[in-house]
Amino acid sequence: MSQELIYLTPQWRDEAERRLKESLTPEKMNFITSSMSNIYLNCPGGGSKFLFFKFVDGKLDSLQVGEGEPPEAEFKITGDYETFAKISRAELGSQKALMTGKLKLKGSMVRALKLAAIADRLNKVLSEIPAKY
């Protein structure tokens, strides 16, 4: 597909789910069971949004986009919408965003380190979705 989708809209979510299920097999996801909420502050038009992922035994179990309080997750990453957008456009590395305090991670760093490569795989798939921010 070449049509650009608006980031974090239901259409973008559907495309993200399709691509994640297609690209990330349970093997590639190391059969993990984990969950993560990205909290987007200062979204265009104001307010905040969330993007919630849940994997069970390496399979994408839930992918939600919404406003307000996200579901409970093992990891919570909070930052400005623009920071996430820059990461998605490959203008900023997620590691650098964390190390400069542009993103804040809540959750066990020990567990996060084990999942860092998996998160990179996931982000790569999402960054390939043609999107408008």
Binding site: T78, A97, M99, L103, S108, M109, V110
Partner: protein, 408 residues
């Protein structure tokens, strides 16, 4: 190092009970969360060696959580009795630096209400003590503006003073290992084996022998195994001799003070030698030293105090004519790794120093430490041995024969 899998049998320590005891004291002092940062507190609560800046957060109920530099967090989770979900690694990342990570954790415990957090503040001669720094304190205050911080280290100090059987057994095993190290040193230096050897070489061969027996490291922050030969044995008031490249010489004394660690229990024993030819004057000094060590060991028991013991020993030394060579102190504190400073709790006339009137109780564990030094004659001896205070005496944990060995 320590592994929860090993934490059975004679070396078992009931860590959940320790945490419960801390929580009971916290309740009495109306403390909602205890934020421990001292190495002694970390060892005593986590049963893991924490060499990097680390913290333990103890809630009013339930499991404690450990926080350390992320590179060591997985090991601590592996070795501690607490589970992986309660060990956190901090890194310089948003939300993951030590102040924010710990503040968030405390905020969650307090459920965003006001509360009292116990901290560990004070001073020590012991470099790795680990009191909360002024900077850390200021940052935590900023991060938790509704929290009252209260100095609460006495909770741990009181609870850890009398040793349980598992702790004492770990010290017994560390002392057994130290004795193996002493035997290895003796075998290496006897019959001329000392010729050409340096202090560092002796430190290393003792370390190798002890490691083979299961010692985790030569734990002392004073340079691991402390070895002194010649004039270095008699440095005035000296009781700290990290090994140097100094070579052993005929006609000189040699002091071997070695350290082993077993499951955070610490071995610390010194043995002394005279390298032939030995003069009558050297033998006189050696006999003085042996006599005062023997008398000190006979005197230690529940009910005596550091000052009463010192007065008695110094009177003996004066009567025998060697008081000028004695350091008038006969002990230092000891506990699980990180607790190597004062005796008892902080209740003496000088803050954070041993209270000279501390009354020893049964099952206190201390290092009987005696330093004999005659700088003018380039000779000195050291005695250190962990002892368990008993009702009518004491149990020296190192069983290595008390002698000053003459070696050819």
């Amino acid at each position: 190092m320590t592994s929860r899998l090993e934490n059975k049998g004679p070396f078992f320590i009931d860590f959940p009970a320790r945490i419960k005891a801390i929580q009971e004291e916290m309740a009495k002092e109306k403390i909602d969360v205890y934020l421990g940062s001292r190495l002694r507190t970390l060892s005593w609560t986590l049963d893991a060696f924490c060499p990097w800046r680390s913290f333990v957060v103890i809630p009013a109920e339930g499991m404690p959580a450990a926080f350390t530099f992320v590179i060591d967090a997985a090991r601590i989770a592996d070795e501690s009795w607490i589970d992986e979900d309660h060990v956190f690694g901090f890194v310089p990342m948003g939300g993951q630096d030590q102040i924010e990570l710990i503040s968030d954790y405390i905020r969650d415990i307090l459920k965003n209400r006001k509360g009292r957090v116990g901290i560990e503040s004070g001073m020590s001669n012991y470099l790795p003590e680990g009191n909360l720094t002024h900077y850390e304190y200021e940052r935590f205050k900023e991060a938790l503006p509704d929290v009252d911080f209260v100095n609460s280290y006495t909770i741990i100090d009181k609870l850890s003073m009398i040793k349980d059987e598992g702790t004492i057994n770990r010290f017994r095993e560390a002392s057994r290992i130290v004795d193996v190290g002493h035997k290895a040193v003796y075998e290496a230096i006897q019959k001329g084996g000392w010729k050409g050897m340096t202090e560092t070489e002796i430190a290393g061969l003792a370390a190798y022998a002890m490691r083979k027996e299961g010692s985790e490291w030569e734990w002392s922050y004073t340079g691991g195994n402390e070895i002194a030969c010649g004039y270095r044995t008699g440095l005035a008031g000296g009781a700290c001799t990290p090994a140097t490249r100094k070579k052993l010489q005929a006609g000189e004394p040699l002091m071997v003070d070695i350290h082993a660690m077993f499951m955070l229990g610490l071995g610390d024993h010194s043995h002394n030698y005279l390298i032939a030819p030995v003069s009558d004057r050297q033998l006189w000094h050696a006999q003085n030293f042996l006599d005062i060590v023997n008398l000190t060991l006979k005197t230690y028991k529940a009910g005596v105090t550091p000052s009463s013991l010192a007065e008695e020993m110094m009177a003996f030394a004066e009567e025998r004519g060697f008081a000028d060579y004695m350091v008038p102190g006969f002990e230092h504190g000891i506990g699980m790794m990180g607790d190597e400073w004062r005796i008892g709790i902080n209740d003496g006339p000088f803050p954070f120093w041993t209270n000279p009137d501390h009354i020893y109780q049964e099952n206190e564990l201390i290092i009987c430490a005696i330093q004999y030094a005659c700088p003018d004659e380039n000779i000195g001896f050291r005695y250190e041995n962990p002892i368990v205070i008993q009702k009518n005496g004491c149990e020296p944990l190192s069983k290595y024969p008390l002698t000053v060995d003459e070696i050819e």
